[in-house]
Symmetry: C2
């Protein structure tokens, strides 16, 4: 089964950058504990402090689907982070052989 | 010195996907041999075969600048890959602590 790379691109609402980064720290820790998670990194755009990218790697598409059913995804992402964003785009990539 | 994450987002010209992926395989090997390179992965968008993303990690901003001065960057990227793309956007990110 090929691994899946997920790139989540956020534009944070102005003034909410510190709040979002703190929540993302919690999310990264919880996500790394999932059996199908291989990596979860939070990156900040160099030239745009409101630009945040999550680089997430899963063992399979099913593992990513399972991530989205976890309590931490529903509580932290949907419940607490998304309301602090101006935009959110999530893309899925196959890692080339 | 903080590491730098680079995300290069390509839209490949229709019909050139296989050519670009072959060239990116060469580029990945050459780039991984740079002393300041920490990772170089080629990913293909799941829902759009023309969408390619490079996930590149460098030891520092200076190491990324050095990458762009290498013969393989100038020959492969600028000389041979870019002419096969419809679009190319390169973003730089600091990895959050």
């Amino acid at each position: 089964m090929a691994e899946l790379q997920v790139i989540a691109r956020y534009t944070v609402t102005e003034g909410k950058e510190a709040d979002v980064l703190a929540l993302l720290g919690e999310l990264a820790s919880a996500s790394r504990s999932e059996p199908g998670n291989r990596a979860f990194e939070v990156c900040r755009r160099v030239d745009e402090p409101r630009g945040v990218v999550l680089l997430e790697r899963y063992a399979s598409r099913a593992a990513f689907a399972a991530h989205r059913e976890t309590p931490h995804f529903k509580d932290l992402v949907l419940g607490r982070i998304v309301p602090l964003l101006d935009s959110r785009v999530v893309e899925q990539y196959d890692v080339a052989e």
